[in-house]
């Protein structure tokens, strides 16, 4: 029997010791899936030194061997302590996929470099013409001796400007039905013929990029799994993207922050926004949704720890979790009112110490509200999730 209380205390002690004020600041000022990159990298290396950077991985590959409850506690404590979010694409998706499909050479070369952050990976799935209909992707890889020659473009590649490698879905056969002609390919972003351009998001910041490939030569040895079997590799990955997330942890954090914001906003009569009955009722309805979500995630956790497969319940939670997150964002913006409006990017830089046009509690509200629109789009849109529910649970 694991002593979870003791474990939690151990995590808390570690966080208290290792999280510098600057890292905490970066955590507090995080307004999207990604934290300030510099801080995230620092934190990644600290976690790596401790052996805790990939809690989900099996121990033999450098994971922790923690059970599902320990992993949950770890995530929760990191969130509560305002640790920055590390760049997760490789740890959450590429790693498990390499363990499952990769060759021994691929595993021994790439996995340690993911853990140490020597490699930073981005994900090359979507294309301008292939979003939800991913199988229609057109970036092609044509065999030429021991190389593929890659041509095409990938979009919404988060963190590509900070990455040195990209894992891609490419078309290796145009003659068969779309899903059957796709391969999974690892590409060095420093290869000749690659251009990365920035995409400015609605919050004025750059997280997303577009990557262009023009006659890029990639060794055939960089295919993961068999040629033309990339679709099943990707589907395996998507399950990790969907199932690996605990929305309750984020939502609880959002709720605590929102209560704090609402208490800070004072009307002339001295009453806080939290005492405003209209606002309080709206908040209460959202709090109740959060409790329903939490209990559903606990249900899924119970199924998982007894070896069951929650199946499409993870689609259900993805819909409910992301939409509730957006509801909290909206409440946040409503709570702070006009204090959410100043656009002042320095305010969100963890190393900035100057004046800010809005009070501290209001700094992140608008950026979070804006950036979280993506939550119901990435990882399978809310509409795709509903299609999965309709098909797999309701059998429509």
């Amino acid at each position: 029997m694991t002593d979870y209380k003791l474990f939690r205390q151990g995590v808390r002690d570690f966080l208290a010791l290792e999280l510098s004020p600057e890292l905490v600041r970066a955590g507090e000022l995080t307004t999207s899936v990604f934290s300030d990159f510099e801080a995230a990298l620092k934190w990644h290396k600290i976690l790596h030194n401790k052996g805790w950077v990939a809690p989900e991985w099996p121990k033999e590959y450098g994971g922790t061997g923690w059970d599902i409850n320990q992993r949950y506690i770890f995530q929760e404590e990191c969130k509560l302590a305002n640790a920055p979010s590390i760049v997760m694409m490789a740890i959450q998706m590429l790693g498990p996929m390499l363990m499952h499909y990769g060759t021994d050479e691929q595993k021994s070369f790439y996995l340690p470099r993911i853990l140490s952050a020597e490699d930073i990976w981005c994900q090359g799935y979507s294309e301008p013409g292939a979003g939800s209909d991913l199988a229609s992707l057109k970036t092609s890889a044509v065999r030429d001796g021991d190389d593929y020659v890659v041509n095409g473009t990938k979009i919404w590649t988060s963190m590509a400007r900070h990455s040195n490698r990209i894992f891609c879905l490419v078309r290796t056969n145009k003659e068969v039905k779309p899903q059957a002609g796709i391969s999974f390919l690892l590409i060095d972003l420093n290869s000749p013929g690659i251009t990365v351009t920035d995409i400015v998001s609605l919050d004025g910041q750059i997280e997303q990029c577009q990557v262009f490939f023009q006659d890029v030569r990639v060794p055939v040895a960089n295919v993961v799994g068999n040629e033309n079997e990339g679709w099943s590799v990707a589907k395996y990955l998507l399950e990790f993207e969907r199932g690996g997330h605990n929305f309750t942890i984020d939502i609880k954090k959002q709720l605590a922050k929102l209560r704090c914001q609402a208490q800070s906003v004072k009307a002339r009569n001295g009453k806080s926004k939290l005492q405003d009955p209209v606002f309080r009722h709206r908040l209460a309805e959202a709090e109740i949704e959060a409790m329903a979500l939490e209990q559903t995630e606990l249900r899924i956790k119970g199924t998982l720890s007894s070896g069951g497969n929650p199946g499409a319940l993870s689609s259900l939670v993805k819909c409910a979790g992301t939409e509730l997150g957006q509801r909290f964002n909206a409440l946040s913006v409503d709570a702070v009112g006009q204090a959410a409006t100043p656009y002042h990017p320095d305010s969100l830089n963890p190393r900035y110490a100057g004046k800010t046009p809005a009070p501290g509690y209001a700094l992140t509200a608008m950026a979070e509200y804006i950036n979280n629109r993506a939550a119901t789009i990435y990882g399978g849109t809310a509409e795709i999730q509903r299609a999965i529910i309709a098909k797999q649970i309701l059998k429509l």
């Binding site: 309805e285 109740i288 949704e289 329903a292 559903t296 529910i389 309709a390 429509l396």
Partner: protein, 368 residues
């Protein structure tokens, strides 16, 4: 996940109701002059459902709300009209709370279905939670005089006894009164959800022993009864909305328009997916709230109130959508889906209303 006991209760309830409580025979009872079916009542008693919440010493089965909710969910699914839980869970909580001096025989008779006791609390100008009633208890030489009026007593049509709440001086109190007590008039009626209700008017003399509780004991027992009523309402609403969703899925697969089944239209698929999301969120919360109640967890109240609010919201949404997705057929009395809608509409305000639950939730959360 259900325990073995819960699974057995679930299976037995599901089997009995599926085999004996089909929609058409229910309609016959509802359209008759009876307020419930005596044969069903007797059968439900013989299956032990009325003994569930009482301890073994009281002649019961010693089950918690987790087990009661399993059966209540089936009641929702099959639109049961017999006020089993109104009696054994709600009145039962008022009569078995610590400090309440209920004769053993009363509990025994409740647990075997020989009598059924219904809480008569609501008054025309007060919210269900209000405890400073207009009904009055005044001491007399041989006991008390109980005067006043109560309205919308759900299940009152068939009740053999009432628990009537009243003020004894400054104190909240309640008394157990037989339906045919002299000076008690019962104006019984059917309700839209196929059940019964009653407005009662009383000026009666009761013995001192008929005063079950007063003051703090009465307040605490009342609060516990309300908590349990909220859980039963939630479980029943869960069963009703789940059944409404099931009926909608089946119907849209069969119904052909524009040359294809309605279920093949994406707009409708997504709406049914939304219904499922609501049902499953409620399922998680009902189980958690019942568990918290049975374990007297510190977050018991917050969970119960959240559960009441969420299931009320969800059941309304799901049953409204069920009618909409069916179309005209679901607006008729002969089709079951509209009856789920009517039942959850009645549950919304039963003993603990949705809005009250929300308001109390805020008070509980802010005090924590």
């Amino acid at each position: 996940m259900m325990t073995e006991d819960q699974q057995m209760l679930h299976d037995a309830a599901e089997r009995y109701l599926r085999d004996n409580y089909d929609f058409n025979s229910r309609r016959e009872v509802v359209s008759s002059s009876e307020f419930m079916s005596e044969p069903h009542w007797t059968a439900m008693a013989s299956m032990g459902w009325m003994a569930m919440p009482f301890t073994e010493e009281q002649g019961g089965l010693g089950f918690g709300m987790q087990e009661c909710a399993v059966v209540a969910e089936q009641f929702g699914r099959f639109l049961v009209i017999e006020p089993v839980f109104d009696s054994v869970v709600v009145a039962g909580a008022l009569l078995t709370h610590e400090g309440v001096n209920t004769p053993d025989a009363v509990i025994e008779k409740m647990a075997t279905g020989e009598i059924h006791i219904i809480l008569a609390h609501a008054e025309a100008d007060a919210a269900p939670s209000v405890t400073n009633t207009r009904a009055l208890l005044q001491p007399t030489e041989s006991g008390y005089r109980l005067t006043g009026e109560k309205v919308f007593v759900a299940g009152g049509g068939s009740a053999t006894h009432f628990i009537i709440t009243a003020c004894l001086g400054e104190a909240f109190a309640y008394a157990l009164v037989e339906r045919d007590a002299r000076g008690l008039t019962v104006e019984a009626y059917k309700t839209y959800d196929g059940r019964s209700g009653a407005n009662i008017c009383f000026d009666i003399h009761i013995q001192a022993s008929a005063l079950m509780a007063s003051g703090e004991v009465a307040i605490n027992a009342f609060s516990r009864a309300r908590a349990r009523a909220a859980l039963i309402a939630s479980a029943e609403a869960l069963g009703a909305m789940d059944a409404a969703l099931g009926a909608t899925v089946d119907y849209t697969k069969q119904r052909v328009q524009f040359g294809q089944p309605l279920a093949s239209f994406q707009a409708l698929q997504h709406r049914m997916a939304n219904m499922l999301i609501e049902v499953e969120l409620c399922r998680s919360l009902v189980a958690a709230a019942c568990r918290a109640h049975d374990n007297s967890a510190t977050d018991e109240w917050a969970l119960i109130l959240a559960c009441k609010v969420k299931t009320a919201n969800a059941a309304r949404h799901v049953t409204q959508e069920a009618i909409q997705l069916h179309g005209g057929i679901a607006t008729t009395d002969e089709y079951i889906v509209g009856h789920y809608f009517k039942r959850v509409a009645a549950l919304d305000s039963w003993i603990v209303s949705r809005d009250e639950a929300l308001e109390t939730f805020i008070a509980v959360v802010d005090a924590a």
